[in-house]
């Protein structure tokens, strides 16, 4: 760790914690029971289906574990999770299939 002035780390933790809490509290806290306009509701319906793929896609192509190098087993595991999930509509089954495939491919690579 680079040299930090005393208290800097705790200041960072507190600032990040407070800021993150305000982000999470924002709409739920301040808007409360007020009704949102229909267009906003329609846009918000697509938050989960937009956020999760956007978080995952760069990780699949440039995984952190390989230092950002493309890695075929991780791409295959992601495709496997996606296909099993779409086919069976079962979150845990999809995850188990993807993680299982990745474990097998990693063990094979070690041979």
């Amino acid at each position: 760790m680079a040299e930090l002035a005393p208290g800097t780390l705790w200041f960072t933790i507190a600032a990040l914690g407070l800021g993150t809490y305000l982000i999470r509290f924002s709409f739920l806290g301040f808007l409360g029971g007020r009704t949102l306009p229909p267009l906003a509701l329609r846009l918000l319906r697509y938050v989960p289906v937009a956020v999760f793929p956007a978080l995952v896609a760069p990780q699949v192509l440039w995984p952190t574990a390989t230092g950002g190098e493309f890695d075929a087993p991780r791409l295959l595991a992601a495709l496997c999770t996606l296909l099993v999930g779409l086919w069976r509509r079962n979150v845990l089954l999809a995850l188990g299939a993807g993680l299982g495939l990745l474990l097998v491919l990693e063990l094979l690579r070690g041979l």
């Binding site: 982000i23 509290f25 739920l28 409360g32 918000l44 289906v49 995850l95 993680l99 063990l107």
Partner: protein
Amino acid sequence: MSSALSPRPSAVFWEGVRDGTPFIVMVGPFALLFGVVAAELGLSLAETLGFSTLVIAGAAQFATLELLDAGAPVSVAVGTGLAVNLRMALYSASLVPYLGRAPLRHRAWIAYALVDQVYALALLRFQGREEPQASRLAYYAGAAAPICGIWILACALGAQAQSTVAAVPGLDFAVPLTFLAMVTPMLKDWPSVAAAVVAMGLAILGHQLPLNSGMLLAVAGGMVTGATLEGRREAHG
């Protein structure tokens, strides 16, 4: 649905616990890893626990620590962490139709526990299901308990165990796979599929933009795509 016919909140709480518990397997290793990395960078157990209880956001915690380690100014480290977490403002907004009428003291803890996995479980439960507010609160609390609990506990364990934490091959990829698995049941119609595809494409194109802005643009693009297609479909009857 009349409340007389609804299950008791305690029963719904345990349904939430049941749905949240399997996520220990995915959140746990990620949290262990944070503890290990933090300890290796010289953080005390108290500082590591400070991160995991006050922030409870894996990706932002890693990003902030990495930047501090690289000697970045505190403002940049905190700003990047917050940018990574900005998506949670959208989580907050999309829970308003379901939990916005709850008393403020409830909304305060709901906001605290609003992490990715809890959010996804809550939406999977709430979408298209009419149930009283007490049930929704109970389910949310049940789902959040194991997920937030293991996050804090495993961060501490990782900090204590440090390098003795065995690296199971492939576990580093559990979090992205979890997100993929959780999104698949939500891809029920064409606007949703299109929103996901557009968000993915934009995230890939913009992954090198500063302050995580590529991801935020990707999310915005996906939301507009989905809402537009839905509007067009309704217009055509």
